[in-house]
């Protein structure tokens, strides 16, 4: 047990570059595997949370632009959503990495973009903005007509009408689908270190370490179930947190009308 505490001290923050420099090479214990894979989860959480937070704002803008009658707003939004939803995230990562690599040769300003923490985050941000934008656009179109008519009747227009009536209703309607999107975005963060972006000094995400152990021990039956355990745990956390927010958004409705969050697999990449 005290061995394990020592291992956690050595490797708990290994994915950020703290602690022991060398990864374990032989005689891998269960504790070492669980600690390192857990340490890699820091990156998955970082990518997931940051992309979701930043993507949310762009997604709202995209949804409004796609619903706009003005083609100068509508067409770019439609194309953006089409490009990011129509192509595999894996290819997007590869393309972005090599694009940043070429830009780096032109201007050294772009050199941080070839590192995963920024380059991959940008791809994930744009990608989740496109998927979420489509969800929000769908919700925007299914806002009950009575709600907007009531806003008009009260003399609301422009920004207050959007902020107080349209936006909250849109979020409320989109919430179950947005929960799905959050889960699958979180799952998609595992692709980062398998798609060109290098894991500098072996600082990788959870799947990077899991596949490291599977390659070294030639035994997939230990590291991958550990990884699965972590992901199921964090998926449950996402469902719980989003459930709380959803409850908050629906708090004015009578009980039976509140939608239950349904988890459907229609948003994986």
């Amino acid at each position: 047990m005290s061995d394990c505490l020592q291992t956690i001290q050595d490797y708990g923050l290994r994915s950020l570059g703290f602690g022991e420099r060398l990864l374990p090479r032989e005689g891998f214990t269960f504790c070492e595997q669980a600690t390192l894979i857990g340490s890699g989860m820091i990156w998955n959480i970082y990518f997931g949370v940051m992309a979701l937070l930043t993507g949310f704002f762009l997604a709202t803008a995209l949804a409004v632009a796609k619903g706009s009658p003005n083609p100068w707003f509508r067409k770019p939004a439609e194309w953006f959503i089409f490009v990011f939803r129509g192509s595999p995230l894996f290819i997007q990562f590869f393309f972005a990495y090599f694009l940043f690599l070429s830009l780096k040769n032109v201007n050294p300003f772009f050199s941080p973009f070839t590192a995963a923490w920024l380059g991959a985050l940008i791809v994930l941000f744009l990608n989740t903005a496109a998927y979420t934008g489509e969800i929000f656009y769908g919700a925007l179109r299914s806002i009950p007509k009575g709600d907007t008519e009531a806003a008009d009747a009260y003399g609301m227009s422009g920004w207050p009408r959007f902020k107080r009536i349209i936006w909250p209703t849109m979020l409320r309607l989109a919430w179950p689908a947005y929960t799905n999107e959050a889960i699958f975005l979180f799952h998609a963060t595992t692709l980062v270190f398998f798609s060109g972006f290098p894991a500098w000094q072996q600082r990788g995400d959870a799947l990077y370490y899991a596949s490291y152990f599977a390659d070294k021990t030639f035994n997939p039956f230990v590291p991958y179930p550990i990884l699965a355990g972590y992901f199921i745990l964090f998926t449950l956390v996402i469902v719980f947190v989003f459930g709380l927010i959803g409850k908050h958004l629906n708090r004015h409705l009578p009980q039976p009308e509140r939608q239950r969050i349904r988890l459907r697999p229609n948003l994986i990449r």
């Binding site: 192509s87 290819i91 799947l207 199921i232 697999p265």
Partner: protein
């Protein structure tokens, strides 16, 4: 490939591209596109089969089957699909070799897991070490197909399970009132009607399956991603007739466009199919069509 390619003067002209794009390695690149299509053609029906069995298990009246089906659906959906891809390729390979080892070499007394090695007798190796190269490649592809089918089978099971539940309950009650057995109700009433409810989910799944095909690269198949990386990398005049700088960006741009076109075409075809299937159905879509025609 063309006769004028032997002329060094073409270097620097636009015709150079037609020579460059028809070299032998580029042919492997083009063949890799057919590998992707082949994978889709095999995986889609197999995954649908897995999904059907999974959905049947999940709504079974026998509790262990139900637990098994629900666990299968929940587990695959809770864990990133790429983790399953990496897991199953090794796990399936070891499972096959283990079974063959037990069957073919019963008098082997050493343990199979020796430290970090997985040791089976030579006769149990898959494919046999004497097998030609194409056998190795086919076996790798076969493992990839099974892996894809298992993962996407779970997603399909979820969709079909939802479709089965969406069939109006009155239909099943009527069937029971007519004295049909449970099995008859399932095959004659439920299965024919569930497809129209499951199709939106299934067409979504098809899109997801298309977008998952580049993951073949992670399974060690020489697919389009592999060749795009190989061909796009910097070439020097010492190793090839057609030297160029780092073009990987352009190769991946081409793949991006390929996938965009592919998903767009599928979208249009599936929309048409949905229109045909909703014709005359008692759903809101079918109702809208009826009103438009009237």
């Amino acid at each position: 490939m063309f006769s004028f390619c032997t002329d060094p003067d073409t270097l620097g002209t636009f015709r150079w591209f037609s020579c460059y794009l028809t070299t032998g390695v580029h042919m492997s690149f083009y063949i890799a596109f057919f590998k992707v299509l082949l994978l889709l053609a095999i995986t889609a029906p197999v995954a649908l089969g897995f999904g059907f069995v999974g959905a049947m298990a999940a709504r079974s009246r026998v509790a262990p089957f139900r637990w098994l089906g629900k666990t299968y659906i929940a587990l695959v959906r809770g864990v990133p699909d790429i983790a399953f891809f990496l897991f199953f390729v090794i796990a399936l390979d070891q499972a096959f070799e283990y079974l063959r080892h037990k069957a073919l070499c019963p008098d082997w007394d050493q343990p199979i897991r020796q430290g970090s090695d997985f040791v089976v007798c030579t006769a149990a190796k898959l494919p046999l070490s004497t097998a030609p190269q194409w056998m190795h490649e086919t076996y790798g592809f076969f493992l990839a197909v099974i892996t894809f089918a298992i993962v996407f089978g779970a997603f399909a099971a979820n969709v079909l399970f939802g479709g089965m539940r969406a069939v109006p309950h009155a239909q099943l009650e009527t069937a029971e009132a007519y004295g049909m057995s449970h099995r008859q109700t399932f095959w004659r009433i439920l299965v024919p009607q569930m497809w129209v409810y499951a199709l939106p989910g299934l067409s979504n799944l098809w899109m997801v399956l298309i977008k998952a095909t580049p993951l073949l690269f992670l399974l060690g198949i020489e697919d389009i991603v592999y060749w795009a990386r190989e061909l796009g990398g910097t070439k020097t005049s010492r190793f090839t007739d057609y030297p160029h700088g780092d073009w990987r960006m352009w190769y991946f741009l081409f793949l991006l466009v390929f996938y965009l076109a592919f998903t767009r075409v599928s979208e249009i075809v599936l929309e048409r199919l949905m229109l045909r299937l909703t014709l005359g159905q008692a759903t809101s879509g079918g109702e809208a069509q009826r009103k438009a025609a009237a």
